[in-house]
């Protein structure tokens, strides 16, 4: 019975609800953004048209002035820089946490409890968790007061808050868990006898890590990387709040343009950003075949 249904209309009907959700909430809005990115605008209104002017504005004199970077390129370099730093840090920390949970904690019950504890920060909103850093890192904050009290510094350390440092710190704090979950999931599937077999073959702890655990966690690493990279690339809240509205990011550029009602150029920027992120994701997928394990 199941075999005959497979060729009929039933499977399509079963897939239809999700397909519809995707169509309505992802494909249609994206299509709108692409369409609007070719429209024109002035101070008062946006008008249907077909012009590539918005894209020309995004990359205004960018090629001509190389090697000096134009604003757009500088913004991308800054955003990519954050993405890279946050990616490396969340990967290292996330991998270590996942490894600890999956391999060092023997009892399944304690594993689950520790894993659930990791989710507790998600009980409050992102923004709350972000601004809770401010009393800690500010000029008169806890860290500076402690450092001055200990006599390590005479003047408050300025770069703790509203700096690249605080932005990176907050990103890492917020998104490491997105790295932990998929890596932990991959690690749980690693057959423990493989570790024993490696030890039997004379592999040291690091050799086991590098030759067995890392290759077999690749899928999780790739999925976690996609989460973290896409979030950081599109972020404007964290960069805004923790960078004291002084640090440029692609997301913030788009937000600013929207606040001036310049929707077409914001849309053009969004399309360029989307293309950049997709390139990164494709590059990742070329290195790791995710489908193999899903």
């Amino acid at each position: 019975m199941a075999a005959t249904n497979r060729t009929g209309i039933v499977p399509y009907l079963q897939a239809a609800p999700l397909a519809l959700v995707f169509l309505l909430f992802l494909v249609v809005p994206l299509a709108f953004i692409v369409v609007v990115s070719f429209w024109t605008y002035d101070n008062y209104q946006i008008q249907p048209a077909f012009t590539v002017q918005n894209y020309a504005d995004v990359f205004d004199r960018c090629i001509a002035r190389l090697p000096t970077l134009c604003t757009t390129f500088r913004t991308y370099v800054s955003t990519l820089g954050f993405a890279l730093r946050v990616w490396v840090l969340t990967l290292l920390i996330g991998f270590a946490i996942a490894y600890f949970l999956a391999f060092e904690v023997r009892s399944k019950a304690i594993q689950s409890v520790l894993f659930l504890i990791c989710t507790i920060p998600f009980w409050t909103s992102n923004v709350i968790r972000m601004i809770s850093w401010i009393p800690l890192l500010g000029r008169e904050g806890l860290v500076n007061r402690t450092l001055m009290g200990l006599g390590v510094v005479d003047q408050p350390v300025e770069w703790l808050l509203y700096s690249g440092f605080s932005v990176t710190l907050t990103f890492v704090h917020l998104f490491t868990f997105f790295m932990v979950v998929p890596i932990y999931n991959s690690m749980l599937r690693i057959d423990r006898s493989l570790i024993e077999a490696a030890r039997d073959a004379g592999a040291s702890g690091w050799q086991i890590l590098w030759n067995v655990v890392v290759p077999l966690s690749k899928t999780g690493i790739a999925i976690g990387s996609i989460f973290v990279l896409t979030i950081v690339m599109g972020d404007f809240v964290t960069v805004g709040l923790m960078g004291g509205q002084q640090i440029a990011s692609v997301g913030k550029t788009i937000q600013t343009e929207i606040s001036y009602l310049q929707f077409p150029i914001a849309a053009a920027n969004a399309v360029v950003l989307l293309a950049t992120v997709l390139l990164i994701v494709f590059a990742l997928l070329r290195v790791v075949d995710i489908r193999k394990e899903l």
Binding site: D191, S193, L194, E196, A197, A198, R199, D200, A201, G202, A203, S204, Q207, N211, V212, P215, L216
Partner: protein, 329 residues
């Protein structure tokens, strides 16, 4: 690699409050095919894992050749283990799997592939070099695991139920193959199994374990002819364990005959409870009042010379010389 006799001295393994292996002593001469036999939970796997170094012995010593290896790391012992599920690395090709331990030692690619290829030829795997483990059949995976274990030139190869994942037909072929390899390499194989036929067919030395202790260790003939305990007799099969003259006794089922015996024979009679045709032999079960059920395995033509029917009362007999007194359990 220093091959030599393996000796276990008062070897003990405890997990919390339970004792898995209790002070066992055993000597396995170099170049022996040794089978650890017993029901699940008897401690045979724990013993092997302690020898391999994947479990730490709670007490006692493991001596290989002239060296006490009790506390050495697995790779320093001169042992290699073949895992029950084979534990092949799914992300590596067959060749890289076999060469894995050489890579860990930092041996150059060229040299380790050369060595790995030699081993793969030994187990007839040459054609599969570039395949991934998932693309191989169970029997092929088993051979990869074997080659991977042998690539370190171990003094003793430890095999944890190596045939249990194979289908019955393949099991027989691989069994022959294992014995051939052991002869060719001249090293000891330590093979854990719960199949007595496997142990009988392969072993020079059979070690039968129960509840963390060795019940009997000896050649297959010894163990089959003269089981030390009722447990061994029952586990090996083909034995009647009876209570005669106030002591436990074993009689091989194929030594029991139908009818009254002569002077030096013991005869018992009872109701025939089962007749089972098995080709060359017929298995007869007689319920004798005091002694209990007696199984007789009788050659076909002898049986049909005077066949027995279910429900009849018949006598059976055997030579008293075929009775072996067992240690009280």
């Amino acid at each position: 690699m220093a091959a030599g006799d393996l000796e276990l001295v008062k070897l003990t393994k405890r997990y919390g409050g339970t004792t898995a292996v209790e002070a066992i002593d055993l000597r396995v001469p170099a170049g022996t095919y040794c089978c650890f036999l017993g029901p699940s939970g008897c401690g045979k796997s724990s013993t092997m894992r302690m020898i391999a170094g994947h479990e730490i012995a709670s007490e006692g010593d493991i001596i290989l050749g002239a060296q006490n290896i009790t506390d050495l790391a697995p790779a320093q012992r001169g042992t290699a283990m073949m895992f029950q599920s084979y534990a092949l690395f799914p992300h590596l090709t067959v060749l890289d799997n076999v060469a894995f331990s050489l890579k860990m030692k930092g041996i150059s690619k060229e040299e380790r592939y050369k060595k790995a290829r030699a081993l793969m030829d030994l187990v007839d795997l040459g054609r599969f070099e570039t395949r991934m483990p998932a693309q191989l059949s169970g029997g092929q995976q088993q051979r990869v695991a074997l080659a991977r274990a042998l690539v370190t030139d171990p003094g003793i190869l430890l095999l944890d139920e190596p045939l249990s994942a194979l289908d019955p037909f393949l099991r027989l072929r691989v069994r022959t193959e294992l014995k051939r390899l052991q002869r060719e390499l001249g090293i000891s194989f330590l093979h854990v199994t719960h199949g007595q036929d496997e142990a009988m067919a392969l072993a020079d030395l059979v070690v039968i374990m129960k509840d963390g202790r060795i019940e009997q260790a000896g050649s297959p003939q010894d163990v089959f002819h003269r089981p030390a305990t009722g447990f061994v007799a029952r586990f090996m099969g083909g034995h009647n364990v009876l209570h005669l003259d106030g002591r436990p006794v074993s009689v091989r089922a194929d030594r029991v005959r139908i009818g009254e015996g002569g002077e030096d024979a013991r005869s018992l009679s009872g109701e025939v409870r089962g007749v089972e045709y098995g080709g060359a032999t017929v298995t007869l079960v007689v319920h004798a009042a005091d002694a209990g059920e007696i199984t007789a395995v009788i050659p076909e033509e002898q049986f049909y010379a005077g066949p027995a029917e279910l429900g009849e009362t018949r006598s059976v007999h055997w030579s008293r010389r075929d009775e072996y007194v067992l240690q009280a359990a």
